[in-house]
Symmetry: C2
Subunit: 320 residues, 2 copies
DNA sequence: CTGTTAGCGCCTTCAG
DNA sequence: CTGAAGGCGCTAACAG
């Protein structure tokens, strides 16, 4: 494995010159430049990243912390983020915290050890030991003052979705969603539902409890057991909406004739292309863009936004 | 940010002793050990990973290269791999090559630059510049001699699936699947289909062309346009199977009465928990385990298996 | 058992 | 414009 010294020797110059050519910094004569480039080719040399990062004090790596990557929403976000980061010259380290608090907490060690230059947080737990100075940005979660939070306009979108269900004739409108165990923008969905129901003068049919990824089907069953007469449901997520539709089908409830469903997220539709579940689609492209923009500002020590709200898009499907 | 020197000074010992305590290597007196531990606590010190990895010549990072992470199969694989790697003390760098050959090729640079200790390859393109000595392992893809390939028993499973469709009364059995642009174990699925059809004496109804992720729905439409009379379909992947079912529904074809469907992969079922599509489930846990085991052997320079075949599991659903 | 020393491979002043 | 030298923070070998 060739090092910079080998290149210098082969080119008949000093290592300083080689470094200058490689980083196009400082003054180098045309002749020296060519000799160096030839030697680099010759030896098939590429600079050792470990040494570079020790010297430069940054590694060009950003950590992404998600509860699980095997999920339509998180995997879509990861996909977008990886692309954006790549374009900004960063690599992405993926950590699936799998609801393990310990693994989530490792973000602090990883940052302290300089294994990453910054981190993006999409998690479920509370963290009180995150200092505002850490280069961290979150999606939906409030980790504290000084930690930027990027989110969709949860409240407005949900409010309008509930109104829409009412306009389409629903009177027994329900809400199903997981309750975050940490202060999160997602709470605004249930708040909007409740406000809208109050405004409409309807009785709530709300199932809002902590659940784990993978338990959506059971949760949907539970919903029908508790509120068998719902004629419209707002589901806080694609998977839940999917399970609700399946469960309805199993119970012989026709969608959308007897039961209308609107989902938040609207991501699964991007696989099967013909979106079937009417949904409020989060603009994951814009969300990811904002996340990366604010994170890079934070890493560079520039002023940043504490909160960015991205509009959603209403996608007409076949369940309303 | 405290360094090892600060700790040494605070503990009143030399940096060598600190290093020995931290790495529990060599002999250290109890007294010195305690003093160092106290100083570490005091200064909230953690060793700089960049310096460690320069010195140790490895970074504890493994790259995972997938076409896209927003996909039920790949995201499930990534999930399992991240867990296994974590348990082995490795972090996972995710690269979504998005069908971009350039991004896939970057594996070689990243390896040469020592940004990763090894790589896992799940990709679509041909690569002739991969040396057998590179610490790379693939899922399904043959990259050449010396590069371990982990895969399911594609041939056997597919053969049995086609036989099953025949047993259940299908006579016009079809195959739909993307054609890999690189020599891959996935080719054995279509080979098994063809052999089984020959054995059964049935005419083929096979759509086997290169497709990109995201185009599955269009591909399914194309299938029905070409073979509208199929009464049994083997789909090489969950998303395709899903699209086939939707398309059938749109055309008023009853599943499973008029059309039976079996999918390879069987991963989507793990979200909605009640698996609805009958499928040949790949044992992603075992696949991932084998991948990590062989990769670590390769990284450590130990002897390894060139090929590992993992059995699949038949999952009875509602489409047969 | 312990402190000191010599690099790991590179970047960056600093004289020349 | 260029080469030599110092140091990023840590580990491992060495002499005590």
């Amino acid at each position: 494995m060739a090092g910079i010294k080998d290149v210098a020797r082969a080119a008949g110059v000093g290592i300083g010159t080689v470094s200058r050519v490689l980083n196009s910094s400082g003054y180098v004569s045309e002749e020296a430049r060519h000799k160096v480039q030839a030697a680099v080719q010759e030896l098939n040399y590429s600079p050792n990243f470990r040494a570079q990062s020790l010297k430069r004090q940054h590694s060009g790596v950003v950590g992404l912390f998600v509860p699980t990557i095997h999920h339509p929403f998180f995997s879509k976000v990861a996909q977008e983020l990886e692309n954006m980061l790549d374009r900004s010259g960063y690599k992405m380290m993926l950590v699936c915290s799998q609801d393990s608090v310990e693994k989530e907490k490792s973000v602090i060690h990883l940052l302290a050890q300089n294994r990453m230059d910054g981190a993006i947080f999409i998690t479920h737990h509370q963290h009180n030991d995150i200092m505002p100075s850490y280069p961290i940005v979150t999606l939906d979660r409030h980790l504290g003052k000084g930690i930027p939070c990027i989110t969709s306009d949860n409240y407005e979108s949900t409010y309008r979705a509930v109104e829409l269900l009412a306009e389409r004739g629903c009177r027994r409108i329900g809400y199903i969603g997981g309750k975050p165990s940490v202060h999160s923008e997602v709470e605004k969905r249930v708040a909007a539902y409740r406000d809208a129901m109050k405004k409409l003068g309807f009785a709530e049919r709300c199932l809002y409890e902590e659940i784990r990824h993978g338990e959506e089907a059971v949760f949907a069953e539970k919903y029908f057991a508790r509120f068998p007469d719902a004629d419209g449901i707002f589901a806080s997520g694609d998977v839940l909406a999917h399970c609700i539709c399946r469960e309805a089908q199993g119970r012989g409830i026709a969608v959308p004739q007897q039961l209308k469903v609107i989902a938040y997220d609207g991501i699964i539709g991007t696989w099967i292309q013909r979106p079937s579940i009417t949904s409020i689609r989060q603009d994951i492209h814009k969300l990811s863009e904002a996340i990366v923009v604010e994170l890079l500002k934070k890493i560079r020590g520039e002023p940043f936004e504490e909160k960015v709200v991205v509009p959603t898009l209403f996608v007409e499907g076949e369940t309303v």
